[in-house]
């Protein structure tokens, strides 16, 4: 805060009204931060899968069984939901970073919405690609 003490008594700064849950705009933000928790869990799940691959076919079969457990399925659903939300918000607000100057001469302006929607479409396409790869089509 100020280097000098206040010359008159002040009331302390109040936090942004309604943070973190009273307004949709803040809820979205907290929700976005929460994606990190769920995606971390998803990452652990995938890591366990890779470990099972390393331990042999039986471990892999057990892993698949575990995935089928209703509680795990529910968790997977939550992770999936959060990761989709993450993807949409990441690409949408991330578009603004990408038009920054990387080099001294400005390029032609890229339409913002196009950049964001294009990014989301790209993610969608890769998602399908991943599914095809996992399913053995590719």
């Amino acid at each position: 805060m100020s280097e000098n003490a206040s010359p008159t008594p002040v009331a302390p700064a109040r936090p942004p009204s309604g943070f973190p849950l009273a307004h949709a705009r803040y809820r979205n933000y907290v929700l976005f931060a929460l994606t990190s928790v769920f995606m971390f869990v998803g990452g652990v799940g995938l890591l366990l899968g890779v470990r099972a691959l390393g331990q042999g076919p039986e471990a892999w079969a057990q892993y698949l069984d575990a995935l089928g457990h209703p509680a795990v399925l529910a968790l997977s659903l939550a992770v999936f939901g959060f990761s989709v939300y993450f993807t949409l918000r990441w690409m949408w607000i991330g578009r603004k970073i990408m038009v920054g100057r990387v080099g001294p001469v400005p390029g032609p302006p890229i339409p913002m919405a196009g950049l964001g929607l294009g990014g989301i479409a790209l993610c969608f396409a890769t998602g399908i690609g991943v599914l095809l790869l996992l399913g053995g089509v590719l």
């Binding site: 973190p20 990452g43 890591l47 470990r51 698949l64 993807t87 998602g127 991943v130 599914l131 996992l134």
Partner: protein, 115 residues
């Protein structure tokens, strides 16, 4: 904390790169493995996936993806802790988050070495 402050640009770049990886790949992976695989709609054959994962391309790819994922999530977690916990949570939150990322990285390396 001084070290962390010095490394902020690096941490942010890993966070950013991890974020793009996640946005591109994670929904597909979770849908494919966790949901469709868990429900048995997608044939996740051991032989093929093992070959894929342990190949010369697969291993480094998995290493990059998983480590990026963990560091991304932990960096974001640090900010979440700070936002909800206030200034007092700044240092403990950062230590906790990056410690978690280091542990997860170690686990990933171990798993991939065995693979």
């Amino acid at each position: 904390m001084k070290l962390i402050h010095r490394l902020e640009p690096l941490l942010w770049m890993i966070f950013g790169a991890g974020g793009y990886q996640l946005a591109l790949l994670l929904p597909g992976l979770v849908l494919g493995v966790g949901l469709l695989g868990g429900l048995g709609f997608l044939p996740l054959e051991y032989e093929r996936l093992h070959a894929l994962a342990s190949s010369a391309v697969g291993k480094p790819f998995l290493a990059g993806f998983l480590i990026g994922l963990f560091w991304h999530c932990c960096h974001h977690l640090r900010h979440l802790i700070l936002d909800l916990g206030g200034e007092r949570a700044a240092a403990p939150g950062a230590y906790f988050s990056y410690a978690l990322a280091i542990v997860a990285t170690a686990a990933t390396v171990q798993v991939l070495v065995v693979l």
